[in-house]
């Protein structure tokens, strides 16, 4: 089948060692200006705290650094190269104007402690983005401080805890569906809550009767991803909210999949009390190989007093400022005000879209996921027939009969010129293949993907070994992860 691959062609890429292997004494990529103050004697100023030696730090020239990192970059797959269908990760186009505006002088170089009088530009950005996100989510107030989605979850559960504390009823546990991201239970543990698993029903949704049975005055909140990690909208959301609220619990929404809802439906309108957003998913800020993210938390009015401090306020003279006097606040979750550079990018994205662009984006994301689903039905097992929104989860059930698992198919996709889908998640689907095309894919790109997946399914029937040994076209073949964990080598060391 390899001769049928239409999306990619192999080409030479450069070898490159570690930067330390290029280092030699006397090479330099830096030049400092002459000092305009008197020279100093460091040993006199620092005494015994003076450092004499910087060990094995490299000494290389600028052209070597450019080539080094450029070569490394060519070993990566990226959205800019093609479809990146990682389910739940929302690998959408990262607009370049976002990068341009984040680098404008006063925005890139503003100091977090510069006087408010000369910070009105940054404050205006914080305020405008906050207003937009509040409108998009249908909530009443927001904090932009959390640095990523998991950090937003932490903030959210701190708010939940503070709220229950203020009611004088400390509660003990948080309900989390079995389809949830691992960050949900890990977060609950950090806030001192016990985690209680909530099972899904045959439709892939929260089991309402199980929820009703498990809900009691010990439950602080339910952490619910909606649409959930199967890409399914929780149709009984109002019942879920009612069951929680009737016993004083709160509904926390993990907003990882908010890109399925923007402009079409607002969590604040369907009973959510608080939620986080991932600006690096829904609002197009780049993933950058694993961050930075940004995880604002939007809340209903009754939780506003507990938000992390400071909050942005409009002062009597009409200018903006920070309010630190928040006696009920959960405190700070991060120094300064959050990942400001990501706020700039997210706001630029919202401006480039406007109301109709955001709505069209959501519609296209859902349309694309359904197009993929239709294209692959039959070739792969679809464990839940419930309609899906922005992503679709297949399983390797058919291929497993030939000994080929989701990870093998994923690795084979690499040979076809695609990044794999998300493997083995959510946990409720054995051998899960979680596919999220996002709105950024054209019909042509998706047709190539569907062809590739179907071709792999055929290979599994005819020549499973080719799939089991994949990838065949990469710089390195499958890497020995067991050895890496058993005897960890976590840094370079000079050979003696």
């Amino acid at each position: 089948m390899k001769d049928m691959i239409r999306k990619a062609t192999r080409h030479v890429n450069q070898n490159e060692g570690l930067i330390f292997e290029k280092s030699s004494t006397g090479k330099a990529a830096w030049k400092l200006p002459p000092l305009d103050v008197p020279e100093i004697d460091a040993s006199k100023l620092l005494g015994s705290t003076e450092r004499k030696d910087l060990g094995n730090m490299p000494e290389v020239s600028e052209i070597e650094i450019i080539r080094h990192f450029t070569r490394l970059s060519t070993w990566n797959y990226a959205i800019d190269l093609g479809m990146y269908p990682l389910g739940s990760c929302t690998m959408k186009y990262n607009p370049r104007v976002n990068e341009a505006v984040a680098r404008v002088e006063g925005i890139a170089n503003g100091h977090p402690y510069q006087p408010e009088k000369i910070s009105q530009g940054a404050l205006q950005i914080l305020k405008t983005l906050s207003d937009c996100l509040i409108e998009i989510t249908g909530m009443d107030a927001i904090t932009l401080q959390p640095a990523a989605g998991a950090h937003g979850e932490l903030t959210g559960l701190l708010l939940v805890r503070a709220y229950h504390h203020s009611k004088g009823k400390p509660r003990k546990k948080v309900l989390i569906p079995d389809s949830a991201h691992g960050t949900n239970p890990a977060t609950a543990a950090m806030v001192g809550y016990a985690v209680e698993n909530l099972k899904s029903d045959a439709r892939g949704m929260v089991d309402i009767s199980a929820l009703a049975a498990q809900m009691n005055e010990e439950v602080a909140a339910l952490m619910l991803t909606n649409p959930n990690t199967l890409g399914i909208f929780e149709q009984d959301i109002y019942k879920i909210a009612d069951i929680l609220h009737a016993r004083g619990g709160l509904l926390y929404m993990d907003g990882a999949n908010m890109n399925a809802l923007v402009g079409k439906v607002r969590p604040g309108d369907f009973g959510v009390d608080l939620m986080h957003l991932n600006l690096h998913k829904t609002f197009s800020t780049p993933h950058g190989g694993g961050g930075p993210g940004s995880g604002p938390v939007a809340v209903k009015k009754f939780l506003e007093a507990f938000l992390p401090k400071p909050v942005v306020v409009t002062k009597p003279d009409g200018t903006l400022g920070f309010d630190y006097n928040r006696p009920q606040s959960v405190g700070r979750v991060r120094a300064f005000y959050g990942n400001f550079g990501m706020f700039v990018r997210a706001l630029a994205y919202i401006q480039a879209n406007g109301p109709e662009g955001l709505r069209q984006t959501t519609e296209d994301a859902v349309l694309n996921a359904n197009y993929i689903r239709k294209g692959l039905e039959g070739a792969y097992d679809l464990p839940y027939s419930t309609p899906n929104m922005h992503e679709v989860v297949f399983s390797d059930k058919l291929q497993a009969k030939k000994g080929v698992r989701t990870m093998d198919i994923a690795k084979r996709l690499i040979d076809y010129g695609f990044h794999p889908y998300t493997t083995a998640f959510p946990l409720i689907v054995p051998g899960a293949m979680m596919i999220e095309p996002t709105e950024s894919e054209s019909i042509e790109e998706m047709d190539l993907f569907i062809d590739a997946m179907k071709s792999i399914a055929e290979e599994v029937e005819q020549d499973p070994q080719t799939v089991l040994d994949a990838p065949h076209s990469t710089r390195v073949s499958r890497l020995d992860e067991t050895a890496a964990a058993r005897k960890p080598v976590l840094r370079w060391k000079p050979t003696a």
Binding site: G106, H151, G331, V333, A335, E363, W492
Partner: protein, 458 residues
């Protein structure tokens, strides 16, 4: 919408292929009463040129063109232009977390180099791939020490960045981690006598910052002695990474929690920055965050993978070492490139320039005002006490397009009219002289006003 690769005809064709009449059919799972049947009330769609104009305007309202003496956990250093050239490559910018190692070797190898250089600079044996920032890294480092020792209480130096202390307090609230604070002495460093009294057999960790919030270099070895005598671990926060070019790292620490913003990361009004945790090999399994390790492929070629994932939330869920998932990878790449550019010799020379500017400035200020904590070595920050409220002096300095030092009253009421000043290689002598001139003027006028009042009284 210019980001969407579809024509109206494409959409029609796709709907037809799905057997749907309209896009609304796709949203049928959403109960009708919750659907939004109006436009969102957000700004209208804007052209790229309008977006650029909007942010240029905000930039003009945001301290553009001011010379600043602010540090306090966020430092202005020169950023070599190749940092942005390289991180702007789409293969770095628009890649996900490198879970699929075969097509992520670029990101993985660069993180491996990052981990190595952080180890070299901190004197530690292992470093992770990054944390959100210095404040959360410090909090997570302390939680790690709690797990390592099986003890719960923590002693925190009051000379640790006040906002880092606030973050730690937030994290500790629901973890049964009692915090106590040890004050600083007359030299601005942690009062060792007070520390001795605070540390006990219950103490998991002593957390200090060095150079500390006042720019003063702590006696980490002496702090470590006291901690170790009681079986506690020393955790050191380093907020000014450039100091590592000329200041000995705290080699007695069990864990170092860094903010690496100084290494090529724009000030950006407070973020994104780059936290990182470094520690000893024997502690690695309690370390939070991602780690890259070296291994081989089937043909025996060197390659890199994310490793020791059983510490992490996606495997261990509620038993994970932390809930951290997304970290600061692209910012860590900036840091990595910066460290590579300056390297073994450049980092030292850069640190030396910081030291020289600061020594000059502190000397000049001392001629007219009072420079506190001068009995201990400092790196690139110092505290100036004035007779007048520093906020008043600062507002006059703003007229010269200079942002003065950070008034400390908000964080340390007992320091009264003190302010924290920072000089880096970017600070010009003329800005220093202007600032010193205004402080001198202020001192003179306070003095003459006082003399006048005394005259009248007489």
């Amino acid at each position: 919408m210019r980001y969407l690769p579809k024509s109206p005809a494409d959409r029609e064709a796709m709907l037809k292929a799905l057997g749907l009449r309209s896009v609304d059919d796709l949203f049928a799972p959403v109960p009708a009463e919750y659907r939004l049947n109006r436009d969102l009330k957000i700004p209208r769609q804007m052209a790229e040129s309008e977006i650029m104009d909007y942010f240029r305007q905000r930039s003009r309202e945001n301290g553009e063109g001011y010379m600043s003496f602010l540090g306090a956990g966020a430092y202005l250093h020169y950023r070599p232009v190749i940092i942005d050239s390289l991180i702007s490559r789409g293969e770095f910018l628009t890649a996900y977390t490198p879970y699929q190692a075969e097509i992520s070797q670029g990101t993985l190898q660069s993180i491996f180099e990052f981990q190595t250089m952080i180890c070299e600079l901190t004197g530690m044996e292992v470093a992770n791939a990054s944390m959100y920032d210095g404040s959360t890294a410090a909090a997570e480092a302390v939680m790690m020490a709690v797990r390592l020792t099986g003890r719960r209480s923590v002693v925190v130096a009051r000379s640790l960045h006040p906002e880092y202390r606030e973050v730690l307090a937030t994290y500790a609230t629901h973890q049964d981690m009692p915090l106590s604070v040890a004050n600083f002495g007359g030299d601005g460093r942690l009062n060792l006598h007070e520390l001795e009294n605070s540390v006990s057999s219950e103490t998991a960790a002593v957390l200090i910052q060095s150079p500390n919030f006042f720019g003063t270099i702590e006696d980490a070895a002496a702090v470590a002695d006291i901690a170790h005598k009681n079986g506690a671990l020393l955790v050191v926060s380093i907020a000014e990474a450039v100091s590592l070019g000329i200041v000995e790292p705290p080699r007695d620490a069990a864990i170092i929690a860094m903010e690496a913003q100084s290494f090529g990361v724009p000030l950006g009004f407070g973020g994104p920055y780059c936290g990182v945790i470094a520690t000893r090999e024997k502690f690695v399994r309690q370390m939070p965050g991602r780690l890259v390790g070296q291994t081989v492929d089937k043909q025996g070629r060197r390659g890199f993978v994310l490793t020791l994932a059983t510490r992490e939330q996606h495997i261990r869920r509620e038993k994970a070492t932390s809930n951290i998932c997304t970290n600061q990878a692209l910012v860590a790449l900036m840091v990595n490139i910066f460290m590579t550019v300056y390297g073994k010799v450049g980092l030292k020379e850069l640190a030396k320039q910081n030291l020289a500017k600061t020594a000059y400035a502190a000397g000049q200020f001392a001629r007219h005002g009072k420079v506190l904590f001068s009995d201990a070595p400092r790196f690139n920050e110092f505290v100036v006490e004035t007779s007048e409220d520093p906020a008043a002096i600062n507002s006059r300095l703003l007229g010269h397009k200079i942002v003065g030092g950070l008034p400390l009253k908000k964080f340390y009421p007992e320091l009264g009219n003190a302010a924290l000043w920072c000089c880096t290689e970017m600070t010009t002598r003329s800005a220093i002289d202007t600032a010193v001139g205004l402080v001198a003027e202020s001192e003179r006028s306070v003095k003459s006003a006082k003399e006048e009042a005394e005259e009248v009284a007489r």
